[in-house]
Symmetry: C2
Subunit: 226 residues, 2 copies
């Protein structure tokens, strides 16, 4: 990986295998936009918790949301240190030695402190961005959140100021002597694929699944062969 | 979800939407065995970090490994509190309202403290289990770790005594009034699929990819249609 930019802090500097590091915002944004869920890490009474959740990126801001009753949201909005990690698994890397087995992946780690979004306009935009993150185009097709629903939802903002990416791609790297071993080596690429959409059984008669659903795709996905 | 067993502790009890909780070891094991990577959460100088890594389950034990130089491994082997989370994303749940959009998923959260594996037999078995976790059958095809490679690798053990699963499946649940809206609703199932294996270009002439590679599958995967 080329590293056109350096880390924003010592804390997000990739130490192990620094050649896999990327600090370029465009690289970080692309990973955040392609992935669906993040894993949010925070500590409560000395115990770390890691919780998967949906998110959205808008510019240099990451939004997460949840019920006002959520322990995670209530903890994070106090402004405690948080780590948000996003991981895309691209393939299994099979070497000739057990030791050199690896994975191809693209991951992003964001450190910081979250803040509650209280401005109604920003909150509305963030909620829309979260729907758009999951299903591009969907926010125009659905009923917008009511005032009651918005009141029941906490939205948090985390700036992307302290973020780094780590990427591995390509074939295994074996010890030179091991290339003589009669063992197949290479990569098994892995891809997340949408399967045929399943109606919930109460769709109004004659209403077909829209293009946003039948041609579901994400930023970064190459054209899928059905 | 049926909940044949209760939580092992208050800390792993699912509070939000407790109907999605599962504490049955068989349910927890199945999720751990199907997923490929976990997200490991730990705190260092008050800052939580969440790092994706490979793991393996053997009975009631989870193993993770890494370079002896890894900051994560060096921190965890001190016995600090850790959280290991595994998430399988099964589908996008599209409701008629933005508010009721959701994801279908199966996740496991394990809390505890890790210990370094120092017994050579257990360490060897754990390293083998990690290769087997990623590619079932692969450990019989590759060169085993040398003494030098084992010395360069830290293996940690985390008991599954404090673990819980959280599962959502099925269609969206809309507000009754919203079923009259002319908006398609249902699920877009998501599946991780292996693509055609790619040789690293230095495989010995005439050596074909073995069955473990060309028929790659994971516990819990239904038969894949190529």
């Amino acid at each position: 990986m080329s590293t056109p930019a350096g880390p924003a802090s010592d804390r997000v500097q990739v130490r192990r295998l620094p050649s896999r590091a990327a600090y370029d915002p465009a690289v970080i944004h692309a990973i955040l936009d392609e992935a669906l869920v993040c894993h949010v890490g925070f500590s409560l009474e000395g115990q770390p918790y890691v919780i998967p959740t949906i998110y959205a990126r808008v510019g240099e801001t990451l939004y997460v949301h949840g019920s006002v009753a959520s322990r995670m949201l209530r903890t994070l909005r106090e402004g405690v240190p948080v780590c948000v990690t996003v991981t895309l698994l691209d393939g299994l890397v099979l070497a000739r030695s057990a030791f050199h087995h690896s994975m191809n992946y693209r991951s992003v780690v964001v450190l910081g402190r979250a803040e509650e979004v209280t401005d109604p306009g920003e909150k509305q935009a963030a909620l829309r961005a979260i729907v758009e993150h999951v299903v591009p185009g969907r926010s125009l097709e659905v009923r917008d959140p009511s005032e009651k629903e918005k009141k029941a939802t906490t939205v948090l903002r985390l700036p992307l100021t302290e973020a780094s990416a780590k990427i591995r791609s390509g074939p295994p790297v074996d010890d030179e002597d091991d290339y003589a071993i009669a063992c197949w080596a290479g990569e098994i690429p892995l891809r997340v694929r949408p399967e045929t959409p399943v109606s919930d059984g109460r769709v109004l008669p004659g209403l077909l699944a829209p293009e946003t659903v039948v041609a579901y795709s994400r930023p970064g996905w190459s054209k899928l062969v059905p």
